[in-house]
């Protein structure tokens, strides 16, 4: 994670931490919002994507060809990867469900990546991924299941420890678990007394269920939460870090997510997508 921070330096934004007195009163505690909506490509996923592309590019340093990377993404990782690849002179292929948010498709295209739309089914996804890999030789980089991605995301934990004096708890949305695995590792390695929590929609509570039973539990295919970025499966690679480092996972209703969005837009003047406010919803629950 520290090495990833060096790789990201000068490329990823050290995003500001914002506060809001109205929300402190509602929550009954001091809240510090790390604004990854301001991150390059519009989400924290740029961190993991950039680190992964960088490791891949340095690994294939002797090859004359542009490194080719392919991923499957509901949106944000695809955008992050597309931009990271553009900056580093690699080619990104993003397989995305055909009913993804239009702005996410446009962002991928605007960064010069190859957008490949697929059916939002396991077969649809697998078929297109295999097709791209066989046609281009692209390396598969999963948004969640990749240690370089987790390390990149973990850099947020390092920044928070510096930016928030007397930090005693951190909470973040979680789905496949890349952010939660990386950030919890960063925080617990340095200050094990800081509590680390995940936050999930009730409709997509795989991580909460897994922590409760001690075993990685599968998620229903496409649970359909308004938090459209959190409908993914808890990954096999991220799960051991989460089981070891995370103190708990809170679940919130769809209405709680919508209420939190309203508060963040209206009181904090920040444009944050539904998935992005799940931590806020949890803190207010």
């Amino acid at each position: 994670i520290e090495r990833a921070a060096g790789t990201l330096s000068g490329h990823a934004v050290v995003t500001p931490v914002q506060t809001c007195e109205t929300l402190d009163v509602l929550a009954g505690r001091k809240l510090f919002f790390k604004c990854e909506n301001f991150q390059k490509s519009g989400s924290f996923k740029f961190r993991g994507a950039f680190n992964a592309v960088s490791e891949l590019a340095s690994g294939s340093g002797k090859s004359p060809h542009r490194p080719q990377i392919v991923t499957y993404s509901c949106g944000n990782f695809g955008c992050g990867l597309a931009l990271a690849a553009k900056i580093q002179g690699a080619t990104a292929h993003v397989v995305m469900p055909n009913n993804s948010a239009e702005c996410k498709k446009q962002a991928v295209l605007s960064y010069g990546a190859n957008l490949v739309l697929c059916e939002r089914t396991p077969q649809g996804k697998a078929t297109k991924l295999k097709q791209v890999q066989s046609e281009t030789g692209a390396v598969l980089t999963s948004g969640g299941e990749h240690s370089d991605v987790m390390a990149g995301h973990g850099t947020m934990g390092l920044e928070l420890l510096k930016q928030v004096p007397d930090l005693d708890a951190v909470i973040m949305p979680t789905s496949s678990g890349g952010m939660l695995a990386g950030v919890s590792t960063a925080i617990k390695s340095s200050r094990s007394e800081v509590r680390v929590f995940g936050a999930e929609p009730e409709m997509a509570s795989a991580t909460a269920d897994s922590l409760r039973t001690g075993e990685r539990r599968p998620l229903a295919e496409d649970p359909g939460s308004v938090a459209d970025g959190l409908n993914g499966k808890l990954g096999a690679l991220t799960w051991p870090y989460i089981r070891q480092n995370v103190d708990g996972v809170f679940t919130v209703s769809e209405d709680e997510i919508k209420n939190a969005m309203r508060l963040v837009w209206e009181r904090m003047k920040l444009v944050v997508e539904p998935s992005g406010v799940v931590g806020v919803a949890a803190v207010l629950s």
Binding site: P16, Q18, F38, G42, W265, E266, M268, K269, V271, V272
Partner: protein, 333 residues
């Protein structure tokens, strides 16, 4: 009605006043972040630095002027400070109510009936007393004068009070620290308090910095005034989605603007909507239509044609108070 005032009396706002204002605001107003966006730099053809006053207390830069003015009022009052009163389309109302609440003073706020619902609710939430009036400048002023007399309240203008102008000027001091090699600053202009305060500080501390105002074409009284060399207020209340800028540039702000501002750029309603879309979608910031005027101006053909040299341009995003439910209508081109 207020006649035109000259600015060489004891009420003249100087850099020293602004520096004192900065001391009063320290620990109360936010030193808002300056944010950048690669996509917008590419569209503008230069580096843009966005001073994000939508993130300021009460949701707009107006908190600065309001807090400074009430602080000075309290200092000069012998015993119990009087209540304060103002008329405002929204942002000054919210700012005054919050500043008054934090300083333990009662605020009476006259608001046009057409002001965004969230602004009225915010004022009440901050403990302010809202008095509604019909949406004309005359009605605002008459209602305010009546309340001032009734309640013994001191009028704090949204843009024409010297202490308000000083408070707004503190943004310039921060920009000079936050943006290395700053060469251009652009702010929206309504009543002119921000443009007056920011321009006088910039020209006093670094006269090489070019200072622009940005105005809706539909409410172009400040641009006309600068071109004519005399204040030319509009005789009607103009329609523009930039609801915070419908007010005429005022007589106290005018002399500072005439002396220190290099030009005022006018933009169309579509240019405002386009700028809104860019800021919301690319920068992920909630900024109201009045607040994006600076970006609309920088992206306009006329700015690009005349400003070859501007390399590091600070744009003040003045506020983010708007009814979210009106957003689809605001963005429809």
């Amino acid at each position: 009605t207020m006649g035109d005032l000259h600015n060489d009396g004891p009420d003249k706002v100087t850099v020293e006043n602004v520096e004192k204002a900065a001391e009063r605001l320290a620990g109360h107003a936010r030193e808002t972040p300056v944010l950048t966006c690669g996509t917008l730099d590419a569209l503008a053809g230069r580096k843009l630095f966005f001073k994000s006053e939508n993130l300021q207390k009460s949701g707009s830069f107006k908190f600065r002027g309001a807090f400074n003015a009430i602080s000075r009022l309290i200092t000069s009052a012998n015993q119990n400070p009087p209540p304060v009163v103002t008329h405002s389309s929204g942002n000054h109302a919210c700012a005054l109510a919050l500043a008054a609440h934090q300083l333990g003073v009662t605020a009476h706020v006259v608001m046009p009936s057409t002001a965004p619902q969230c602004k009225k609710e915010t004022v009440r939430g901050y403990g302010g007393n809202v008095i509604e009036c019909v949406p004309t400048e005359q009605a605002r002023v008459e209602t305010m004068e009546r309340i001032a007399q009734q309640e013994g309240a001191v009028y704090i203008s949204s843009s024409q009070h010297p202490d308000v102008i000083s408070g707004q000027g503190t943004m310039a001091l921060e920009l000079l620290r936050q943006v290395p090699d700053l060469d251009t600053v652009i702010t929206p202009v309504g009543g002119g308090g921000m443009l007056a305060g920011v321009s006088l500080v910039m020209k006093a501390l670094n006269p090489h910095i070019r200072v622009y105002g940005a105005e809706p074409e539909l409410a172009n009284d400040a641009a006309t005034s600068l071109a004519q060399g005399k204040r030319c207020p509009l005789s009607y209340y103009p329609e523009t989605i930039a609801d915070g800028l419908r007010i005429n540039m005022g007589p106290v702000a005018w002399p500072y603007i005439q002396e220190h501002v290099d030009d005022i750029i006018c933009v169309t309603e579509d240019e405002i909507k386009n700028a809104m879309t860019l800021i919301w979608q690319r920068m992920k910031l909630v900024v109201e239509p009045s607040g994006v005027l600076g970006l609309a101006a920088v992206l306009s053909d006329s700015f690009k044609a005349r400003e070859q040299e501007a390399k590091n341009v600070a744009i003040i995003l003045s506020g983010g108070n708007l009814d979210l439910l009106k957003l689809p209508e605001l963005l429809s081109l």
